[in-house]
């Protein structure tokens, strides 16, 4: 059932991409609403797919890369739905749809079977750690899409006001930064409980720290040097690139403690 539901989601997002592409030139209020409901429907199907997996495994879907990507996609959609109420642009729709299609496509190449939890993962910290990661990554992903919109709109005569957009990106980054800090902290506390070392420079730890440092640099540049607009948006794009490296690059290429593929 999970597979069928995910296929439906995938199809809905593809329709979303096509409609948002069309809306780039001929945007109407009707199409705006149509995309809104398509995404909400896809979110509903994805939620049911995740619930089905929870029922099947008897635990939250936090134990493998595949499960994390599903939860991550779910979080992106939630943030997208909330953000879209405050900000609309067909480019935002397009980028968000492309991103989730890419993630679902990536998930389809990962091992999907539900394995029982290994001893190291049997802790409540697993839930806290992964839950904070989903929120952090979800808000970074949506800030990334908005930064893309910013870059695209900046040099065009457009109806979109850039300052509120910049502010919206900033708010999402701050939310992501707070939760990324919690991801690293909860991970460290958990690692101390499992292995006796709260930090071992494991590739996943190190790349999360690198991501954290880059977002910290973004916040400092913004607060102190008033870096707003384009430069700020470029840093958000780089930051999310690092998120993706931490998530896929490190899990699939670099061996380490987080190799739960």
């Amino acid at each position: 059932m999970e597979n069928h539901l995910l296929n439906i989601c995938f199809a809905l997002f593809l329709i979303g991409i096509m409609i948002s592409l069309y809306s780039l030139w001929w945007s109407t209020e009707g199409l705006q609403k149509l995309i809104k409901w398509i995404i909400r429907l896809a979110l509903l199907f994805l939620t049911i797919a995740i619930i089905a997996r929870i029922v099947e495994t008897g635990r939250l879907p936090f134990a493998s890369l595949y499960e994390f990507v599903l939860a991550f996609t779910w979080a992106i959609l939630c943030f997208f739905v909330i953000t879209r109420r405050r900000f609309y642009s067909p480019i935002f729709d397009l980028l968000s749809n492309i991103l989730v299609v890419g993630l679902l496509l990536a998930a389809s190449f990962l091992p999907t079977e539900a394995r029982p939890l290994m001893p190291a993962l049997q802790s409540n910290w697993l839930h806290i750690h992964v839950f904070t990661a989903i929120i952090a990554y979800g808000s970074f992903a949506v800030s990334f899409c908005l930064a893309g919109v910013y870059m695209f709109q900046e040099n065009r005569a457009t109806v979109i006001e850039l300052r509120p957009l910049d502010q919206l990106i900033y708010r999402l980054v701050v939310l992501g930064f707070i939760f990324l800090s919690l991801v690293i902290i909860t991970g460290a506390i958990w690692a101390e409980q499992v292995w006796g070392n709260w930090w071992t420079w494991d590739p996943k730890e190190t790349w999360s720290l690198v991501t954290w440092l880059v977002y910290a640099a973004y916040l400092h540049a913004r607060h102190t040097y008033n870096w707003k607009g384009r430069r700020s948006a470029v840093m958000v794009l780089i930051g999310f690139g690092l998120v993706l490296i931490t998530l896929f690059g490190v899990s699939l290429i670099l061996p380490g403690l987080h190799s739960y593929i």
Binding site: P119, A188, V194, W199, W201, W207, L213, A217
Partner: protein, 339 residues
Amino acid sequence: MNKKHQVRGIFPTLTSMQTAIYLLIFIALLSAVGTVIPQGEKSSFYTQHYGQYSGTFITLLGLDHLYQVWWYQVLLGLLCLSLLLCGYKRLSQARSLTGVGSSLLHLGMAVIIVGAAWSLGYAKQAYLEINQGESAFLRDYGLKEGYLEVKKFNIDYYPDHSPRQYYSQISLQDYKGRCYEENISVNYPLKAANLKIYQTSWGWSMQADVAKGENKQRLSLQNGIAIPLPGRGSLEIKAVFIPDYQEDGTGLRTKSPYPHNPRMLATLLREGQIIDMVVLAPGESWTLGEYNIIFQGFVPYTGLTLKEDPGVNLVFTGFALLSLGLLIRYRNLYIRKAA
């Protein structure tokens, strides 16, 4: 330039945000490099994989143990100092709750780095493998006085025979004479006043009596590890444990992880080359040349990590300060209307 000018020059540099941002980005880049270059290998590894020049460059700069190399730690120290000074500057500049939050989170980071440095200097860690029913004196492993006994070790399996949890029932008498008795498992270590004990590994240990003429000796053989046979020869013995031996002619296989039908696969080696091999049930013996080997019994051993870490509580305090600071610093973000 006189000394006074120099001092004035260094202080604003350290408190400047520009320095902090450069340090953040530089440390981020360096840390990333450390995940790409394999860490802690022999120097020959680097010359083989990266060529003579790059390999030598890597070992010379210490990029092969980047996170421990002195100049990396100096950079972390500088970042720590810069954080403290920036935090202080914020507090003195903006006497608002936001300023307090900002200072707290910078202080939190500095506390984490100090705690980490303390751990680096004073933490002690040891890894012990103890057979079920045996014990160890912690002094022998570079830790404080103490006595540790492993009463029982067992594994809980899922129906598909993958491990669900490992348990070691241990008793500890620490250096002050206090006694602790606990059933530890992965994620649930024993926490004594100064010491934590973690479930880390496990394996099978086989007991074999080896006789050569009149000399008889009891050997404890760990699964898969070759040890020299008594006497002056260059012979070694390696034992592999088969817990639930399947006698169906399909080779050496185990039906389950449970020791229902135990066997010891004993291999005799000379300079790494196999000379002979035999499968023994408990009580069975094997004669090879002058040696007679009897498989007496088997027992699980538990691998425990013992750690005395005085810095870890400071690190956790830093985590709390950092989290609190973040919440205070950005408390208004989702309440206040967009500027």
